[in-house]
Amino acid sequence: MSAPLLSLEGVSKTFHVRPVLGAVRRVEALRDVTFSIEPGRALALVGESGSGKSTCGRAVIRHFEPSAGTIRFRGEDIFAGRTRRGDSAYLRAVQMVFQDPFASLNPTHTIRHHLERPLRLHGGTDDLEARLRKTLSDVELDPDTTLEKFPHQLSGGQRQRVSFARALAVGAELIVADEPTSMLDVSIRKSVLDLMRRLKEERSIAFLYITHDIATAHYIAEETAVMFAGQVMERGPSDAVIRNPRHAYSKLLISAVPDPARRFDAEADDALAFTRQADAVRADAARPIAGYREIAPGHFVAYSEADNA
């Protein structure tokens, strides 16, 4: 096993929310999160919406400092002993593709502008035009019709591919991809996932892949971690976690993956039963985790104090 490229060790993050009236409320967005990613490999973060997946990603790109715990890149604490040169190298090595392409593209700039700067930073001006075109083709956009367009002239899916191209343009070593394919249709989603796979295999780029699409987690990531309410419920080889989930929340999540053979309207009782079960599992899973059991090599399942008693 090679040394991890990225590791999170007991990372916690608490937000303090000040309403106009009333007391400050604490949101524990991350609670004691631990995982690591090796070069050229992918870890998928799946789980409840609001469970802290994006918060993890944003801590990794140093959007903010964790309240507790350590994040290491190549073994070094990313918040300790920062130098300007080290900073810009880190910021180039770690790129983020956001959940929402509307938020990350500048409406007043053409696609050419969005890609030219990172390409120049990374590889100078040689063959700039050819590299521009290649980068767009890599994400299956037609350079002829796309280069001079503005973000609003592209469809949602086309826009998301541009943000992906931009992350590739700087030659990242780790890409934090926060739902990069959620707006792409299935026929294109696969080609983007294949692109990610190729980048992993051929250029050894690592991915922290955040998604609600569990089938794609299985397709792209060697490891999967399931999050709920700021904690990791289960973590291990994707195949084991997804095909044979062991934690009650992971089981619930995987049971809810859309199944075209099961209509919603034909099952009013079913709907009620599902909601009841979901509520019960969520209430249970919200309790603090006491520790993890390693049920198979590298496959960890959380337990709480109550489980032990």
Partner: protein, 267 residues
């Protein structure tokens, strides 16, 4: 089905984008009927024109988009001929829309409650207390605690913002709700709970839905009928069961074959 029987009847709709490079027809002769209380699914690859149709139906399309041909009848009335006042009153209460990437359609400087109150104030006389109660009720429907009403959008996760927008779209009891990828930011547990709730609400309150998504499996679970688009045209349309069991068009078959499945090799 005759036009009068449908809540929404789109006839030969054409929408063009006028770009410096010339005009581009994004929607080509689309005809589509949505019945009362019907959930109509619209699927098709990225860029095929789904959102363009959605915006046009609400008359929310902006230049360089132009409706160059066709009719849009809502309960028999031509919405393309609505004067501005009537149009504004009709939006939210006649038909409402959950935008693609809805999570960024919230105003960043207002709390969630202030946005509910704005919307309510524009349509009916609602006191602060009543607005608060209504907003809390709608939040509960999408599984959010009432205390989140005091949050600003950036303090909520993507999925939470998406649920807020969904709740707002249903607040004024519109007869048609257009949902452009309403659940892509949600986990599958919450997604299922919300869509089941919408099915139940439709039964209780009665409204129609135009549901746009890339997730064909989800569409098959939720929609009564499905239309498949390719390059601005509808290439196949039918009852959801039939489109799942017997897709006729090559493109529909291709979409199904490309669908992610756990355990399969294709993603």
């Amino acid at each position: 089905m005759s036009a009068a029987k449908s809540l929404l009847s789109v006839q030969n709709l054409c929408v063009d984008y006028l770009t410096p490079a010339g005009s581009f027809r994004a929607v080509r002769n689309v005809s589509l009927d949505i019945g009362h209380n019907e959930i109509m699914g619209l699927a098709g690859e990225s860029g095929c024109g789904k959102s363009t149709i959605a915006f046009s139906l609400m008359r929310l399309h902006r230049p360089p988009a132009f409706i160059s041909d066709g009719k849009i009848l809502f309960d028999g009335e031509d919405i393309l001929a609505f004067p501005r006042r009537k149009l504004e009153a009709w939006r939210w209460s006649g038909a409402s829309m959950v935008f693609q990437s809805a999570m960024n359609s919230l105003n960043p400087v207002l709390t969630v409650f202030e946005q509910f109150r704005d919307m309510l104030a524009r349509h009916e006389k609602t006191g602060r207390e009543a607005a608060r109660a209504k907003a809390a009720e709608m939040m509960a429907m999408v599984g959010l605690p009432a205390d989140r009403l005091d949050a600003f959008p950036h303090q909520l996760s993507g999925g939470m913002r998406q649920r807020v927008v969904l709740a707002m779209a249903l607040t004024l009891r519109p007869r048609l709700v257009i949902m452009d990828e309403p659940t892509t930011a949600l986990d599958v547990v919450v997604q299922r709970e919300i869509l089941q709730e919408i099915v139940a609400l439709r039964g209780r309150l009665g409204f129609s839905v135009l549901f746009i998504t890339h997730d064909l499996a989800l569409m098959a679970q939720f929609a009564d009928r499905i239309a498949i688009m390719l390059e601005g045209r509808i290439v196949e349309e039918g009852a959801a069961e039939n489109l799942v069991a017997f897709p006729r068009h090559d493109y529909t078959r291709k979409l199904w074959a490309a669908m992610p499945r756990i355990g399969g090799t294709a993603a």
